[in-house]
Every structure is written in structure tokens, then in C-alpha cells.
Symmetry: C2
Subunit: 447 residues, 2 copies
Amino acid sequence: MNIRLYNAKILTMEEDREIFEGEIHIQGDRIIYVGEYGSTTEDCKENMPAGEEHREEKETVEKDNVTWDKEIDCEGNLLMPGFKNAHTHSGMTAFRSYADDLPLKQWLEEKIFPMEEKLTSEDIYHFVKLAILEYLSGGVTSIFDMYIKPAATAQACMDMGMRCVLTSGLNNFTSSVKQMAEEYDEWNHTSPLISYQLGFHAEYTCSKQLLTQVASLAQKLKAPVYAHMNETAAEVAECKKRYGMTPIMFLDSLGMFRYGGGGYHCVHMTEDDKNVLAKRRMYVITNPGSNTKLASGIAPIASYLDKNIPVAIGTDGAASNNCLDMFREMFLVTGLAKLREKDAACVDAMEVLKMATVNGARAMRLKDADVLAEGKFADIIMIDLKQPNMRPLHNIGKNIVYSGSKQNVKMTMIGGRILYMEGKYYVGEEPAGIYKETDKIVKRLMH
Amino acid sequence: MNIRLYNAKILTMEEDREIFEGEIHIQGDRIIYVGEYGSTTEDCKENMPAGEEHREEKETVEKDNVTWDKEIDCEGNLLMPGFKNAHTHSGMTAFRSYADDLPLKQWLEEKIFPMEEKLTSEDIYHFVKLAILEYLSGGVTSIFDMYIKPAATAQACMDMGMRCVLTSGLNNFTSSVKQMAEEYDEWNHTSPLISYQLGFHAEYTCSKQLLTQVASLAQKLKAPVYAHMNETAAEVAECKKRYGMTPIMFLDSLGMFRYGGGGYHCVHMTEDDKNVLAKRRMYVITNPGSNTKLASGIAPIASYLDKNIPVAIGTDGAASNNCLDMFREMFLVTGLAKLREKDAACVDAMEVLKMATVNGARAMRLKDADVLAEGKFADIIMIDLKQPNMRPLHNIGKNIVYSGSKQNVKMTMIGGRILYMEGKYYVGEEPAGIYKETDKIVKRLMH
């Protein structure tokens, strides 16, 4: 499909590029043009540098050779890169609001683990579909998903058009290094929507022997590794008792991060831990909604910025959060940092917008999904600037982070396909059908 | 208008009443029936107690005498009381994202105060209208508004159909006790949508003499008093230096709270402060979004519940928050309490839902807007249970608090009038007209 999105405000998220008025052209799953061509306001033309008129003419010729399958008037609304949900367990929508307001250990051991044992691949397939509806309605265009039975997650994403980076949740009880190596091969060569990164659940659920095998595989494949790290104070204390080191120091001592990677959560951190992340060029993938609801603590985001450690943002799963809403997460990243540091000037909103888009893509190794530019994936969202919470337009970026909500997502496009627009889904089936399947599974699980 | 809302799930928020399936009848601005009559699912009939069949017949007769102006099939979605935004400065939408990520003192003194001086009554009228659009899109049916020029706020609310309790922001520089007494008379007798409560800005902006006069007026009128209290650590420290007491202890020593009232924020509190609130049967009106973004601290909500101090919730103004979204506030109330107490079981979501509805109405002295029952105001919202973030339906109340968003608000009705439905406003004018006015004012203010 050739699609032209015109009469838009555009935030490409390229370094130091301001919002401008213009249009975006899409061919297949890629962006072929981002610029001011055809922009309708006088303001824009006045600000056009000398010589631009020429460029405009040339492009008119190019444009005339393209037959548009669809031309969409954005009516002055904002186009920007979709949000990257850099840590989630999509299949856990099954347990949204199933058990809350309980101490963490009781919640996990008495409520979640016994239920997860009952989940089949087909169950997960349907609950991932439910999660995808939620992602699309909230402007999420890529997910970094760790869950049991990744093939089920991949299938749901391919069937609905979602971009997904799978990663292993390997531990002493599920999966194996052999299986992970096979998955790595399979899912990096199956679909342009799917890729795969090495990973394991966490230090506290894996034996030293298993972790050593993961480190060897990472070195063999020259690949980054991702896992839950330093999420709770108890986890850090137990690891120190076991190995005399924090989880991050211990994992690094095994050679785990020779090719980088990332840590989910990273709440309870020493200076040494942070220095490892910086040295290994690793990503922190922060999950403030989950850390808040489970009372895990507030991650030291300001100190990561000080040390140039890149931060990406994830929602975690719907059993702990309980929603998959990057707007909530963005507000929490900056808000909780401000509370933690007792400084209202801490972690600027624009930095957070970068975390939720550019850094997310880079953390997930999606090099073509970071910004809006020629040759990049057409993973684009339209933000409705005509909702009252976006007015006035003093600062659109800060409006998104501090005042934005899923209500403002007018369109979600992934790989050049419009999957959500004006509250309707274009994913090959109606939400009602997905709810019917998931309700049926819930009924079975609860008996 | 006589309106029948049928085929609904209903959460009345009455004590210990579970969600049931049924319908609500409305005549004029009041609810005349809430019950299971006509409920369509088999489940419901099976669970009906003996004798209910008779009641149903009787109601059929009553129903047949009513001519419905409108009958709405709720399609199984949830009806519940609208949210009460118990502390806001609606006119401050003018400054949304105008100045953020600054230290509190610099933000207020360099950015906000100079701009506020330029605001006319007419400016405020238009920015309150902008705020009302946002309230309606987020299911807010009553606001407790403190701002300069309350007549402008009242006019905007009356023109659009919003329920509003005004309160004074009296301080050394604006308004006077005489003016407040006049406003109290006027706005408690002008419109069924508007009422007025005594108040002042805060201890640190009022002289002791002024505060003594307020206390006298409160005693004369036997009326409660509301103000910002113990919001920041600096405010408490300065008051202690001035009077040897915390703000709440000092104000109470003046006889301010003989007839109760409430404190906005209440973040930095001693045991004595809390005991005053409990003894005077006062409300805490918590504003977690604002306290977070301005790095003021986390209010000790769990301890208020322990002492049976009722808590209501407000958004504060859009200059500090920056949005007027009770869903965000609800998540923060419970989430921040969990972080503060390091206890994931702390401040149950259902308690928070009560704060955002029943307690809000009571704090604002809106005795007929607390729950859905016969004789109460028809201030009702419909929550869309067919959005993915509300599925599955393990626990609808917890879904609303932990996963809900403004996207889930399908309808907002105030005083029997549908003001918002399916993303459209029915307030006598289109949003575009309001944006045009507010954009014009912003342009003037910024020059």
C-alpha cells in the first residue's frame, strides 16, 4: 500500500529536530518521505530556508509518479513514532485484576504461579491478542515480550500485525539453553514483524550452571542478553548471600554482558551496578507502574541519565500493573524521579518521550523503528491535538508526557498498515470475538 | 427529560452493595429508580430472591405510566456515580505545559504568578470551559473549584451544565472576608448546579488577622472551611517558625474548624495534625499527581484510613499536574501509598474508588451526589467494559482503579443531562469554538 499522511504536525524524534508541519509518505512497510512538502500553513512557508522551493518542485514530480492507495488528512494533528513497550508479558492479561492488593510473595506463589501452570499455548495466543488490542489503542507499535511459549505470542503478533521482539524467560523450571538457541534461529528468520533476543528470567530463578551456559551462548552468538535485575531489595540481599555479589555484578562476572543487553526494573542499585551497565553499554528498562503497585521501590532514573546509561520503558505484565499504558508509565518515570530526588526539575519530560520511543527501539535492537525518517519502518501514531487535555499548545511534547492519555491516540500504524483508527481495530477480527475466547478460557481457569 | 438506562451493570457505591445487572430511571435532574427491573440476563433472574417477581410486576405498572424521552441500551456496560474532583483550579488550564520541569519556587514566582496577573474574568470563563470539556471526557461530574474570580467559573459551569462547588482562594492580596461572605450568599442561592463553601488559600499567604476573621465568619455561619494545608515541608517549617505550630495546629487554635472542613494536599503531617483532622471530622483532599510532579512528597494515606479520616481526591490545577484525570489520580493514591509503606497490600483499590466518588461528594457537601439511589442527583457515568483494558472481568472495580483510563468513559451525565457520549460533547457549543477563544487569549498572554 502507498499511503500519504498530509496536513500533519510531525515529531520525528531525531536529535534536536523540532516539531514541524508537513507530511509523510509510506510505501509498503517503510517511510519513503518525511518533510514539509505540501504543508498547508503560511507559517511553514515563511520559515522555509532559501532553496527549499526547488526541493519542493522536485518532489512534486516524484509525487506525481506515485499512485496513492490512501491519502489521509491529519487535520493538524501530530504524527510521531509509536511507543515501544520494552518489557511486557502480554499473555498475562489473563490475570488482570485477578489478585491485587496482596503482599508480593503471596500474590506470586498463591495466586499467579498456580494459574500459569494451567495456561496452554492456545490460551496464551488468545490473551496476547487481547493485549495487542490494548497496545494498539494506546499507540504501542513494538513490544519486547518475555513469556512462556513464545511461539504462541509470535503467532498472535503475526496474525494481527504487531511488531514483537521475543526474549526468553528461561529458568530452572521452564525452557532450556538448547530451546533458546533454536528459538533464536527460528524467530530471527520467520517474519519481518518478529525478532528474538537472548534472555533469562532472573538470577534468583536460575542456577549458576544454567547462567554459565547462557553466557557461553551469548558469547558464541555475539548477542546481548536481557533479564529481570535488581527489582526488589530482597532479591539483591539473597543474591549477595548466595554469591557475595549483587545480581548485576554476579551476572557480569560470568561474562554475561560481553555484547551488552539490558536489565528490566533495576530499582535497587549500587554504584558498581550502574558502572557495569555503563561499561557494557547496557539499557535500563524501567517499569514504574509495576514497581509502584508491587511496592518494589523507585528506580534511580536521574542517576542513569547522569552516567549516560540509556533508559527505555516497559509496562510489565497486566497481572502486576494492571494495564499496558505507556502514557501512565511516562508520567511515572518523570514523576517518581522528581519525588525520589525531591527536585521538580529532575528528568525532563522530553527525555522521557525519547525513552518511550527512540531508546525503546534501540534497547530492543529494532534499528529501523526508532525515529520517523526515510527508510525507517512506518511505525507511526497520530496524536489527537483536538482533545481538551492537549490544549493549549504551549508545548506539545510536555502535553503528551504530563497530560496525555490513550484517549489521544487517533491512529496506530505498524509496518505501513493502519491497525487502529478512531477507536476501531483493523486486525482481521472484531474485539468481541477475542473477548468471547478469553472469557471462555477464564471460566475454565477459574474452575 | 425522562431517561431510562437499561441493560446495564450497576455499581451504586452504596455500602456493601455489589455490582448487579439492571437499570436506572431518571426524571428531571434526579434518579427515580435503581434496580434489577428488566435486567436481561438469565444469571440475574436465577439469583433473584423470592418475592422479587412481585416487585417486578408492580414496577412494570409504574413504568408503563412514564413516557420516556430517551431509552438507552447500555449493552452490559457499567453505570456508576461520576467522579468528584475535590480540589481543582479549572481556570489554570491556561498554563498547561507552559512551564514545567522547574523548581517549585521558580515555577510559581517567575512563571505562574506574573501570568495570572494578566488573566481577566472573561479569560477565566473560557479556560474553565476548556477544563469542563476535559472533566466530561474523563467522567468527572462535580468539581470543587478554588480560583480568582469565582463568578467566571460559576458562569462557565452553568452555561455548560457542570456541577461545581466554589470555594474562596482568599489571601492577603486577593478577595476579602466581606467578599467571601457575599459570594457565600449569592452562590448558595443561584443555581442547583452551583454551591459555595468558605475557604482561603493557605496559612502562608494569609495574615493572622485575616485568618481570625475567616474563623469568625465560619462560626457565625456554622460552616466548614477549606484550604491548602501542609503541602510542602518548607510550608510547615515556616509556619512553625512564625507561630511555633504546624499550619493545621495553628489554624485549629484560631477556632477555624469548629464546623469541620478539609485540607488540600496534607502531605507533611504530624500525629497531632492528624488527630485534629479526626477530632474535627475533617476531610483530607489528596492530590497525588500534583504532589508528584512538583516533588512535594507522598501523603500518608494509609494512616488516614487507620484513623478513620475520610479521604477525597482532587487533580489540582492543570498548571501543576498537568491534566484533570481522576483515573491517573486514583492509581497514584493507591500506588504511592504502597511505595510509601513498602506494602503491596496497602490502601485497597475499592477504598480508592470510594474516595473518588462518595467521599468526594461528602467533602464538598454535595449530599445528593454521593451514590446512585432514588432521590439522588442523576450524576452518572457509563464505563465501557468492551475496551481491552477492562478485560477479562475478574474484578470490575479493580479494573477501573488499576487499569482504567479516560478512554473507558462512554457517557457522562450531570443532573439528568447527557453532556458527553461516545466522544461527542452536548454542551451547547463545539470544542473547536472553545479552542479558538482560548488560543486567542494565549496569544495575548504570551505577548
